[in-house]
């Protein structure tokens, strides 16, 4: 338990402040918030809707600006959260309702049935080997396959398997394969209820649906993929075991075009804001293309290169001068396939020469912007918070409460209040934790 002064103890006693916190969302921001609260001796319920914590970062191959591999730096964080005695992980769970006020919220959570008992499953994978059903793996953006009983990725935390009942044919082979008798096909959703003093919203983001730009060809033209698919494609644990190939014919692309600002800074698509990460992940992906195949051509089509974070500009410079990534200033207008050569052709105006050009590539990677998750409005509504016109949670004040929502005791971090890169999300996670623990300790000006 945290060390506390006498006056605090009294304050706590009179106000009946709960010593627990709730964090909604188990991505990199939510995990950081949970750790920083739990490390002060408080208890944290970490609610995550997917079967594993780790969020979007777990899907990434490398990260900018250090080219660290994402799994390598994230995995210790995953186990730190999972093993922390102060953190109660509630994965595959949804927030049902919130009532009460700062210091004493009543929270109801539905823990969906995963049909595998968490306390018994050792994550050995014998069940999955036996399962005859194969469906596209969401974690690989449908590029790879998983079984009906599955973990999304090797470092899945908890390592408990989950049965996707929509695909399950109830053949019970998994039940027979499981030595530990962890499978329970009769399992039902569980409803949990508990009190918390403070809540942190860390629900992350979703990718802009790039098919909305019809002329860029995504979904219509083979080998036009989006950046998250590219991440899985170059990842050793991904569907091609890390081989950067064209999915249409298995060939190694000799020339890749990266199209920036798709679903960002575009008023006509209701995404007027900058997504903050695309320039840098675009550059990183281009560098990775060079790393996979040094002779390949990697060209980035951009409007402005926004390398604003610590070490970002230096990374941009390195991509240009040392890796030989080409930068082409101009927004791509159209991607088509030349039926004669089979090449993908980007139509783009070179704004530096004021000339429209056609450039040929073997693969096009569209770099989508970030949007709030579809269910964000629904989730925060349960807490009495509304989203603003851009769909994100609004903060109380940029200077006095940059992680406070307009409801006391409820805080926000990561991409829930706007697009953010990993370091900024982590920093906000810590900041939100600080504010939450001020409430839990009965302190603060209130």
């Amino acid at each position: 338990m945290p060390a506390r002064t006498k006056s605090q103890k009294q304050a706590t006693a009179t106000k009946k402040v709960s010593q627990n916190a709730l964090v909604v969302g188990g991505g990199v921001a939510g995990m950081q918030a949970a750790l920083d609260i739990a490390n002060q001796g408080f208890k944290v319920y970490l609610v995550e809707k997917s079967p594993s914590i780790g969020g979007r970062m777990a899907m990434l191959d490398k990260t900018f600006p250090t080219l660290d591999c994402s799994a390598c730096i994230l995995t210790p964080r995953l186990s730190e959260v999972a093993r922390h005695p102060g953190i109660k992980l509630l994965t595959y769970s949804d927030l049902e309702s919130v009532s009460g006020k700062a210091g004493s919220f009543r929270v109801r959570v539905i823990k969906r049935a995963r049909y595998v008992k968490e306390e018994l499953c050792a994550g050995c994978g014998e069940c999955s080997k036996e399962c005859p059903v194969e469906v596209p793996n969401e974690f690989d953006w449908g590029l790879g396959f998983r079984k009906a009983i599955y973990v999304g990725f090797p470092q899945s935390t908890p390592s408990t398997y989950t049965i996707d009942m929509e695909s399950c044919i109830k053949c019970k082979r998994c039940e027979r394969a499981c030595e530990r008798k962890a499978i329970d096909l009769e399992m039902e959703d569980e409803r949990l209820e508990f009190d918390v003093g403070a809540i942190i919203i860390a629900t992350g983001y979703r990718l802009f649906d790039v098919a909305r730009y019809y002329r860029l060809g995504y979904g219509r033209i083979p080998d036009v993929i989006h950046a998250m698919e590219y991440e899985r494609l170059i990842n050793a644990a991904g569907p091609t075991h890390g081989h950067l190939v064209r999915l249409s014919d298995g060939r190694i692309p000799q020339s890749i075009g990266f199209v920036q600002c798709v679903g960002a800074r575009d008023v006509t698509k209701d995404v007027p804001y900058c997504s903050r990460v695309c320039c840098m992940y675009g550059i990183k992906n281009a560098v990775m293309a060079k790393e996979h195949n040094p002779d390949a051509d990697a060209t980035i089509y951009y409007a402005d290169i926004r390398a604003f974070g610590k070490g970002f500009e230096e990374f941009y410079e390195m991509a240009r001068s040392r890796f030989g990534v080409k930068f082409f200033r101009g927004r791509a207008a159209e991607v088509r396939r030349d039926s004669r050569t089979g090449k993908l052709v980007v139509r783009v105006e070179d704004t530096e020469k004021a000339q429209p050009q056609d450039v040929e590539h073997d693969m096009i990677v569209i770099c989508p912007g970030i949007q709030p998750p579809e269910d964000l409005a629904k989730i925060v509504e349960k807490m009495g918070i509304s989203v603003t016109t851009d769909g994100y949670v609004d903060v109380a004040n940029r200077y006095f409460g940059p992680v406070d929502t307009k409801v006391p005791g409820i805080f926000v971090c990561g991409c829930a209040d706007g697009p953010k890169d990993i370091p900024d999300s982590v920093t906000e996670g810590s900041a939100a934790a600080m504010k939450a623990t001020i409430i839990l300790s009965g302190g603060g000006a209130a």
């Binding site: 250090t66 080219l67 660290d68 790393e291 390195m318 890796f323």
Partner: protein, 147 residues
């Protein structure tokens, strides 16, 4: 200098073997950064991590040369930037003496190199390995020098 470079017979396929003592805080981190930045440099050096270059007893370097290291690199924080305030200065003080001893024993002093590379100076670290490797390659294997 007392080495007898002209008599050296360089065996075929010979590759210089280099031992690199790096301090944990600056140069080892700089070497890590060289990796994450994918800076490519000769694979001849084997890094041995010490907390501080101040930990390096001249004996460690002499022994390495005696055991057959063709070159020894010592890489630490810049003077004034030592994580332990002044350990690197202590090493620098020992270095002059060390070079003398090496020379007197008939070993080409160009086989040892002292450099400063901070945690952000990945390129300087990599260049240091490269330069020493190339230098030692020119001098030839150490076996020919010990009397």
């Amino acid at each position: 200098m007392s080495q007898s470079q002209n008599e050296t017979v360089v065996p075929e396929h010979w590759e210089p073997r280099i031992l690199a003592y790096c301090c944990n805080w600056c140069s080892y981190a700089g070497a890590d950064l060289a990796g994450t930045s994918r800076i490519q440099y000769p694979p001849n050096a084997r890094i041995l991590r010490v907390n501080c270059t101040g930990r390096i007893d001249p004996e460690f370097i002499l022994a390495a040369l005696e055991m057959g290291a063709d070159g020894v690199l010592v890489s630490g924080c810049h003077p004034g930037d030592c994580h332990y305030t002044s350990g690197n200065l202590k090493l620098r003080a020992r270095w002059a003496l060390l070079e003398k001893v090496i020379e007197q024993s008939g070993v080409d002093p160009r086989r040892v190199r002292l450099q400063w590379a901070s945690a952000s100076e990945a390129q300087i670290f990599a260049d240091g390995v490269k330069e020493l490797t190339e230098q030692v390659r020119k001098i030839g294997p150490i076996r020919s020098e010990w009397k």
